[in-house]
């Protein structure tokens, strides 16, 4: 019957006495009273109790899952039917909701390729983790937080093992691992392995309205042999780096002339400030210690205990500071010690070990030289100290440790799929930074020593300053010339990553780029030339101030260079929107 109104007035309204404010109160209370469950859900849930636990969508996705487990030499893979994908992006949101990801966290993305000229074509490309045969994320991880399942081939991330170094993000060509700022770790797609184990479809598969995504079994040898699916997608990263397994099917070959819709988009990348400072400081310290040991060994620098002690304390302090700064980069620094376990495969692990050793060694040297300076009479219990402090072998070992650590730093970046980094130029830059800042540091240290009463009469020390000062402009010019080489790519015809780097340096990053050169030229060229021109006549204090300014400017210039090293490096990616 329609005329009667079946639902009773809610009890909270029944007490309404007829006054406006009372009614407001009643409605505000009623507004907070959630009744949907008691009114509707029982009926709803009852409807499906017969299916107890059986997912209602099973019929939708049953034929989108493989019938058996992979055999040896096979693995699970996503298969995308591009003909059926129209770019609704439900897969992205379903993955987000069904995996309970946090606000803004997404593990799948949908990009677009199109052609600019000719008959219009466009194709959306949905991408998640490629569950690669050679997962770069896993190979780079310093703590072995990734493992590739031997049966399913799924590349799984061990969230509790992760220290949040983000190196996998730099390693993955597909932008798959996502950093979770609050948790301090990365997370990524695991092909909904928990669902697959229960015979359910991954979130993206079960949510696609047009059934464009399925799980299939691929032969790993076939994937390795035949990377065509990828090379066919314009703008996709070179599949030979990781051998991604997702299969892209289409009956309409992606025609010549198609390109990623974001092919021309340039945007600066994350700066990683702790790494910017860590790389500059660690290279300064390594360069300084290297110069100190080499200068001492070759007789350019005095073996005077006070000088050696001060030098080693300074060098070691900067080195330890650099290490401390680097730990700040980690999302979970308390687990930094785990970084040793990836030594066999990860250059990041090797870098951490190398700098750990160098830091320890430099600290021992500092202690030893200080001990020697305080107790200048050798013998007795201080023999061990002396053995350390003046042992040629130790100094040679220090030289090697410095080189190894800087080399490991460079390899961390060279061992990525980012073309701006993956060349010997990265090693050259890091070594030149070490030399330039190390020598500037040494010059400033010596100039300060000479300004103090203890060293003011030391002629041999004074004689070192001029050659050091002359070396700075030479090194700086080589360094800037190396850096400037990227600009030749500005005229490249295609929108390759190096061209984009050059565009970024001239566009969004032009101020940082200009100041990098200004700081370098002022600190590394103009002030040294000015000092040489004035000669030593201006007095020791003036020289100390000058060289301190030179060091600060040179180091600032190198910090800016390292900022640009990160922000202007364009990573490979699947086509974006």
């Amino acid at each position: 019957m329609v005329q009667t109104f079946p639902d009773k007035v809610p009890p909270s309204l029944a007490k309404f006495l007829g006054e406006g404010p009372a009614l407001i109160g009643a409605y505000l209370e009623e507004q907070q009273n959630l009744t949907a469950v008691e009114r509707f859900s029982s009926a709803h849930d009852l409807m499906h109790t017969g299916l107890a636990g059986k997912p209602q969508l099973e019929n939708h996705y049953r034929d989108l899952l493989p019938l058996a487990m992979p055999k040896p030499g096979q693995q699970f893979a996503f298969e995308v039917d591009l003909d059926r994908c129209t770019g609704c992006k439900a897969c992205v949101t379903a993955c987000h909701s069904l995996n309970g990801l946090d606000a803004g966290e997404t593990w799948r993305s949908v990009g677009l390729i199109h052609n600019v000229i000719g008959k219009p074509r466009q194709q959306t490309i949905t991408t998640a983790c490629q569950h690669c045969l050679e997962p770069a994320c896993s190979h780079g991880c310093p703590v072995k937080a990734y493992e590739k399942d031997p049966v399913t081939g799924i590349v799984k991330h061990l969230d509790d093992q992760c220290i949040g170094c983000e190196y996998c993000i730099l390693k993955c060509p597909y932008d798959v691992p996502q950093y979770h700022h609050d948790k301090g770790i990365v997370r990524k797609c695991d092909m909904c392995v928990g669902r697959l184990e229960a015979g359910e479809a991954p979130a993206c598969v079960q949510s696609c309205p047009t059934k464009a995504i399925r799980i299939t079994i691929v032969d790993q040898a076939e994937v390795r042999k035949n990377p065509d699916d990828y090379t066919a997608i314009p703008g996709a990263p070179d599949p030979r780096y990781t051998h991604p397994t997702t299969r892209y099917k289409t009956t309409r070959p992606l025609s010549e002339g198609m390109e990623a819709a974001d092919a021309y988009k340039v945007r600066k990348e994350k700066a990683h400030y702790p790494l910017v400072f860590m790389l500059t400081l660690s290279q300064l310290a390594a360069g300084f210690l290297f110069a100190l040991e080499a200068g001492t060994l070759s007789g350019f620098l005095p073996r005077r205990p006070l000088f050696q002690a001060l030098g080693h304390v300074l060098g070691s302090a900067v080195m330890l500071l650099a290490i401390a700064v680097s730990v700040m980069h980690l999302g979970r620094p308390q687990f930094a010690f785990r970084a040793v376990i990836g030594f066999r495969r990860s250059w990041l692990s090797r870098e951490i070990v190398a700098f750990g050793l160098l830091g320890g060694l430099s600290a021992i040297m500092a202690c030893a030289t200080v001990g020697l300076a305080l107790h200048p009479v050798p013998g007795g219990r201080l023999q061990l100290l002396e053995a350390f402090a003046s042992n040629t072998g130790m100094r040679i070992f220090m030289l090697l440790a410095c080189l190894t650590a800087v080399h490991a730093s460079a390899m961390v970046y060279r061992d990525t799929p980012r073309v701006y980094w993956a060349t010997r130029m990265t090693s050259a830059k890091f070594l030149l930074t070490s030399a330039l800042t190390g020598l500037a540091g040494l010059a400033a240290f010596i100039a300060c020593c000479l300004a103090s009463r203890a060293f003011s009469a030391d002629a041999s020390l004074r004689a070192v300053v001029l050659p050091l000062c002359i070396s700075l402009p030479a090194l700086l010019i080589i360094k800037l010339a190396c850096e400037a080489r990227i600009h030749k790519h500005i005229d490249d015809q295609d929108a390759n990553p190096l061209k984009k780097t050059a565009l970024l340096l001239r566009g969004e990053l032009r101020f940082a780029h200009a100041w990098r050169f200004n700081a370098g030229l002022l600190g590394g060229l103009m002030l040294p030339v000015f000092w040489i021109y004035r000669g030593d006549s201006a007095g020791a204090v003036f020289s100390a101030v000058m060289f301190a300014a030179i060091l600060i400017l040179v180091a600032a210039g190198e910090c800016l260079e390292r900022y640009l090293f990160f922000t202007a490096c364009v990573p490979p990616r699947m086509p974006g929107a």
């Binding site: 409605y27 803004g104 909904c192 928990g194 309205p209 988009k265």
Partner: protein, 733 residues
């Protein structure tokens, strides 16, 4: 040993808190696995609050509150699927800019929180004062297609029968007025004849000015389920996402659609590809129509549309009788200076080929907003509740009797349309405006018009879930409204299916459901007797059902919300006289009987009119606007609040431009440009693509700057604004 294993666990930890957070719990309630953290203790389903597809979302409830959702597999509309907006429907409820208390502009011009009591006194006092000084025609309301029918109904009854408003309109004027008027004139009632099953049962599916891949992805799902290997034809100047996957795309010149449809009719008639028997038995006015299309010969029409004679003939041949042809249109047709005639020209095609009332056929308007259909029947704006007419004394009598009011108090013609309300404000005739759940300061055509006239208002009230929409920022009084998911009610989708909204999430602060706000206003105004017996939305539903009795939209057979819930929505009509439970998917006119007194459908037509804002030498580009992506809705007030959705659409506004034009203007992809019309300018990045033709531009409508450009032209019958064509120029910045 254990020490070693502890240390080894510490060095390589495979399990722990972070791992557990991501574990999936075994599914209950037919859901499949769900995140452990968000495991529901019950579920309930409700219709999504965005578009007119009317998908059902299964809300995952924990301790009585919504924590997550998945599309409902048991609902006949979406069959377990949803677009990104649906998946993210709960996110906008948590936004930081929700209106949580009434806000009143103080002496220094700032909006300051006030109590509901003060806000309601201000509301009634100011509107009563304006009416006392300037009369009933000095106030108006602008409503929405986004709230449940019950609330539209309450608003219309309260404003017009209680407060004495004459004028009230809604943003449905911007999306659906054309279809409403077209159907009403052609069929005798505003009755979209189809059911979504028709997508699956067609042999030829024609989309006119519709882009379902992006705008209605779940309808496209149904197209993809069609096993008849259908011919899919897209008629659109732009190579849309749908055009790219269609079997044929006719890229006609902008706004040449009416000529095209008359040209097709001409060929069909000339070739005898028509259903003469159906025309004779079920239609009127065909002879006049035949004479009218006589002049639309293929040569002329081929030239006007830019398609050429051959393509036109090829297109017409696809519509030959013998195949199930369904014709679907959306905003490309509706938002036009001659949208009603264009929609009717589509209806005419279906009528003369007999493609109506049978599976896989129909002249089908895909609606825009979730409850535009509810608005069309019950909002008491353009017509009286139940799809009645103000002009009809018997209809006024019916409604007056129901509400126990004097029939003479009911206006005898509809009030002003949206654009006319704004003109009246401009002329100083309307002094007080009440805006409910819509954002004209962003969406109105030639937006500056709205902003300019809004400044002339003595009193502007905005009732919205957010306190900082473009329009709320202009208001004198902001009333905090509960949103979708925080209140109950019913909505009607494109295929006439009545579905439910439910209260699954607590409203923030003092936000109240519009239903309660209207009840309070009635109380404070002193007209609460209008709503005696209507204390809950469901009671309002029963009142509406009663008002639908014996009308074409009769749903007196629906016993209440529980029945709607348990049956997966119920399409109207479903009169009390129906003996059988409703069939899940029903279409209209299977008996060939229409709603005009003679039972026949009417051929409606008139000659195409020139484009109101043609391109000129100075403004050489035709700008079209439309949906940008499946992750955006209207003015982005809600979709912009989901971090996930924000990732799914471009951060910057885009303008699509043809490569030839781009190279002439020396524009590269991604360059910033200024698009200018005599009315304003908009900044956007160039998206160089041959999806538009030379001389055309396309901009998504979601960026606030776009409607600074649009030209205020209106369909003479429906007063719907023409968003799809204005003349602009482009400059590189």
């Amino acid at each position: 040993m254990s020490l070693v294993s502890t240390f080894s666990d510490f060095l390589r930890q495979r399990d722990g808190k972070l791992t557990h957070e991501m574990i999936l719990a075994p599914g209950r309630f037919g859901l499949g696995k769900t995140p452990n953290r968000l495991q529901p203790d019950s579920t309930t389903s409700m219709v999504c609050g965005y578009c007119s597809t009317g998908c059902s979302l299964k809300i995952h409830m924990k301790d009585g509150k919504a924590v997550n959702l998945t599309p409902d597999p048991a609902y006949p509309v979406n069959l377990g699927m949803a677009c990104p907006k649906g998946w993210e429907a709960l996110a906008p409820l948590k936004a930081g800019d929700r209106a949580v208390t009434p806000l009143l502009r103080d002496g220094s011009g700032n909006l300051k929180p006030v109590e509901w009591d003060a806000a309601l006194r201000e509301f009634t006092g100011r509107f009563k004062d304006i009416i006392a000084r300037h009369g009933r025609e000095a106030v108006a309301f602008l409503s929405t297609g986004q709230i449940p029918t019950e609330e539209m109904f309450m608003l219309g009854v309260l404003a017009k029968f209680g407060m004495g408003f004459i004028h009230g309109d809604a943003n449905t004027r911007q999306c659906m007025a054309t279809s409403h008027v077209a159907y009403k004139m052609s069929f005798g009632f505003d009755a979209p004849p189809f059911t979504y099953k028709d997508f699956e049962e067609s042999d030829v599916i024609v989309f006119l000015g519709a882009n379902p891949c992006i705008a209605h992805p779940i309808m496209w799902e149904r197209v993809m389920m069609n096993k008849r290997k259908p011919e899919i034809i897209v008629v659109d100047p732009r190579q849309t996402e749908t055009a790219l996957v269609a079997t044929r795309h006719y890229a006609l010149a902008p706004k040449s659609d009416l000529a095209l449809l008359y040209g097709l009719s001409h060929i069909l008639i000339r070739e005898g590809w028509i259903d003469e028997r159906y025309i004779a038995e079920h239609t009127s006015g065909f002879e006049e129509f035949k004479a009218h299309v006589q002049t639309f010969d293929p040569e002329a029409v081929g030239r006007i549309t830019g398609l050429g004679t051959e393509k036109l003939k090829e297109f017409a041949a696809l519509l030959k009788p013998g195949k199930r042809v369904s014709l679907w249109w959306t905003m490309g047709v509706n938002q036009s200076h001659e949208g009603v005639r264009t929609a009717q020209a589509v209806i005419n095609l279906a009528l003369m080929t007999g493609n109506i009332g049978k599976p896989g056929t129909g002249a089908n308007s895909i609606t825009g907003q979730v409850n535009a259909m509810g608005s069309r029947i019950f909002s008491n704006t353009t017509g009286l509740p139940g799809g009645r007419n103000y002009q009809d004394p018997a209809h006024r009598e019916d409604v007056a009797r129901f509400f126990k009011i004097d029939p003479a108090a009911i206006q005898q013609k509809p009030g002003l349309a949206y654009d006319q309300i704004l003109s009246a404000i401009d002329e100083g005739k309307i002094k007080g405006l009440w805006v409910i759940a819509t954002n004209p300061a962003h969406s109105w055509i030639n937006q500056e018009d709205f902003r300019r006239v809004a400044a002339k208002l003595e009193f502007l009230v905005v009732q919205d879930m957010y306190h900082d929409t473009d329009t709320a920022r202009l208001a004198h009084l902001v009333l905090p409204a509960a949103a979708w998911g925080e209140k109950e009610g019913s909505v009607i989708n494109s295929e006439r299916r009545i579905g439910l909204f439910k209260k699954v999430s607590p409203a923030p602060g003092q936000a109240l459901a519009d239903f309660y706000i209207f009840k309070l206003m009635a109380k404070y105004w002193g007209c609460e007797t209008l709503f005696s017996g209507i204390d809950t939305p469901e009671q309002a539903f029963q009142a509406m059902a009663e008002l639908s009795r014996s009308r074409p939209c009769d749903f007196t057979g629906i016993s209440g919300y529980k029945q709607i819930d348990s049956l997966g929505g119920i399409q109207w009509p479903y009169p009390e006289t129906s003996k059988l439970p409703p069939v899940p998917e029903r279409r209209l006119f299977e008996d060939g009987r229409f709603y005009h007194p003679d039972g026949k459908a009417k051929f409606q037509f008139s000659p195409p009119q020139p484009i109101p804002d043609p391109v000129t030498e100075k403004y050489p580009f035709a700008l079209m606007t439309g949906r940008g992506s499946s992750a955006q809705w209207h003015t982005n007030t809600r979709t912009g609040k989901s971090e996930v959705l924000r990732k799914l659409y471009p951060a910057d506004s885009l303008v699509e431009i043809h490569p030839q034009d781009a190279s002439r203007l020396k524009l590269a992809n991604g360059d910033w440009v200024l698009v200018k019309s005599p009315r304003g300018q908009a900044r956007a990045r160039a998206s160089v693509a041959s999806t538009v033709q030379p001389g055309q531009l396309f901009m998504p409508m979601h960026d606030v700057e776009v409607n600074r450009l649009t030209f205020p032209a209106f369909d003479p019958h429906s007063r719907q604004p023409s968003y799809k064509h204005c003349a602009v120029l482009v400059e590189k910045i």
